[in-house]
Structure formats: structure tokens, C-alpha cells
């Protein structure tokens, strides 16, 4: 399993809000696909998928506030 982790976005800012998942659990994803959109302050940004496989778990759903280093979901690599 590969974890989808919120990376460092800014010095001193540790939080972001999950605004949109581009995939549902059980769906296939390719490496570098836009996986999830997050918002911090007045900026949106996307996290690309770290690998190809199946999105098996979404642990931070839309609207959730997450911290740098948190796991947002899991991918079963193919």
C-alpha cells in the first residue's frame, strides 16, 4: 500500500482543506493523475497520484482539514 500524504506547502503553515477527490474508492489511478484538490488560504492546489494502482481508501473526505504529513488515502499499487 502507498500512502497519499499531504506534503509541506509553506513555511509555517501546516493545514489545508480537502476540497475535491477526482476518484472514488475502488477506481484505478495512474501515476501523476490529479488525485485530490486541496485549498489553503485563497489558493487551490492538486496532489498528483504517487503511483499507479487502485484507490482503496479515502481517509480525509471533502471538507476535512488536514495537517502536513497526514495520510489522505491509500493506493494499492498495480
Amino acid at each position: 500500500m502507498t500512502k497519499i500524504v499531504l506534503p509541506q506547502l509553506s513555511e509555517g503553515i501546516q493545514k489545508a482543506t480537502v476540497s475535491y477527490w477526482y476518484f472514488k474508492t475502488g477506481e484505478k489511478v495512474n501515476a501523476k493523475d490529479d488525485l485530490v484538490e486541496l485549498t489553503t488560504d485563497k489558493a487551490t492546489f492538486n496532489l498528483p497520484s504517487p503511483c499507479s494502482g487502485v484507490l482503496t481508501e479515502i481517509s480525509a473526505s471533502e471538507g476535512a482539514t488536514v495537517n502536513v504529513g497526514d495520510t489522505l488515502g491509500l493506493i494499492q499499487e498495480s
Binding site: 509553506s10 489553503t40 488560504d41 485563497k42 489558493a43 492546489f45 492538486n46
Partner: protein, 209 residues
């Protein structure tokens, strides 16, 4: 660092949106590290596509009668209004060549706005926790950006002329009950948007080196 500047003049939001995407691809392909689109828009309302239209106060019919289109876009922030008399700037920057720090970039844009206002004789300020630039309790400039693979798009608007401020009453700007001002409203003097634009572009060119 060379900055490609595209001046679209007075243009529909949709045409400028397409041009932003074109410039984004150019930066993404590595041909360019930073580009800037400057323009004014015909009256238009844009909303964050994840938040939707809940902070538009006017009815669809009222907007239709006024000829104001609504677009759901990728940027952060909530709802905003654009119209002639505002300077719009869309900086498409590859932050890999600047600083990979989202909040640094937002503060960088605020700083540019504050410096351009200072040149026009206005003391613009940040308001704690509220991105954008303010004169006292009135908002004079708004920021809303999107970042994909550390490349920025969308951007900022500065209210220069006082001609169109009444259309802000069609929305709750940024989803808040705030009052809007402009450079002309603050100085009481006519301001050339062309000259203000030139100053802003010069400042941004200097700051992007």
C-alpha cells in the same frame, strides 16, 4: 528572469481564461519560467467551482438583464465581480524557479499590490487572516489563485476606477459582508488605468528577477 507579458486590453473573461491555459502550457513545457496576462474584463462574476453560487445575491434574471455571465473556476477564494475599471493580472509563474511556498506567493502578490497603491498615493494594508489588500476596512484588491504542479494561474484584481463598484452589491464578495473601494474613490482624482497598469507591470518585472 525574463517575464513574458501579454496585454489583452478589455476582454471577455472566457477569452482571458483560455489565454491563461495557453500560457500555463507554455510554462509547463519549460519554454518559459514566468508569464503575466494583464487585462480588464467586461462585467462578469466568477465563483470557486467547489463552493458554487451561494454567495451570489442577484437572481439569474437580474444578472441576465445586466448581461453579466457567471463562471465556475478553479481558483481559491469564493465569489468575485470583475468589470471595466479594474486592473486584472494573471501571473503564471513556475514556483520551482522562485520558491515552492504557496503562502510566500500570496504575500508576494499582496506586496506588489501594496507597492503599486503606494505609487498612487494610497496606503494599502494586509488584514490578518484575510488575503487581499485593504484601505482601512474597505477592500481594494482581491486575490484568488490555483496551483498545479507548482505552476500558478488565476491571480488578482485591483479596483482602479470608481465606475463599476455598484455591481459588487450583486454578490457577497469573498463570501463576506465587506465594503469595496477603488483608487479613484480613495484619492478623489481621476486615474488612468493604462498608466497604473504600466506601473504595476514594471513593479512585477522588477520583483520577478
Amino acid at each position: 528572469m525574463p517575464l513574458k507579458v501579454i496585454d489583452l486590453g478589455l476582454v471577455d473573461f472566457e477569452a482571458a481564461w483560455a489565454k491563461q491555459k495557453e500560457l500555463f502550457r507554455e510554462v509547463q513545457e519549460g519554454d518559459l519560467r514566468a508569464g503575466l496576462i494583464v487585462c480588464q474584463h467586461y462585467p462578469v462574476i466568477t465563483v470557486n467551482r467547489r463552493i458554487g453560487r451561494k454567495n451570489i445575491l442577484a437572481s439569474q434574471e437580474e444578472l441576465k438583464n445586466k448581461g453579466i455571465a457567471v463562471y465556475e473556476v478553479e481558483r481559491g477564494g469564493d465569489v468575485t465581480y470583475h468589470g471595466p475599471g479594474q486592473l486584472i493580472a494573471y501571473p503564471v509563474f513556475n514556483l520551482n524557479y522562485f520558491k515552492k511556498d504557496i503562502h510566500w506567493f500570496l504575500r508576494y502578490l499582496e506586496d506588489l499590490i501594496i507597492r503599486s497603491l503606494s505609487d498612487a498615493g494610497i496606503k494599502g494594508e494586509r488584514s490578518n487572516g484575510l488575503t487581499g489588500v485593504w484601505v482601512g476596512r474597505l477592500k481594494i484588491a482581491s486575490i484568488g489563485i490555483a496551483i498545479r504542479n507548482w505552476i500558478t494561474f488565476h491571480g488578482l484584481s485591483i479596483n482602479v476606477k470608481n465606475s463599476d463598484l455598484t455591481n459588487f452589491s450583486l454578490i457577497r464578495p469573498c463570501g463576506m459582508d465587506i465594503m469595496i473601494t477603488s483608487i479613484e474613490s480613495e484619492t478623489g482624482l481621476p486615474v488612468s488605468i493604462g498608466e497604473f497598469k504600466q506601473r504595476f507591470v514594471s513593479l512585477l518585472k522588477g520583483a520577478s528577477k
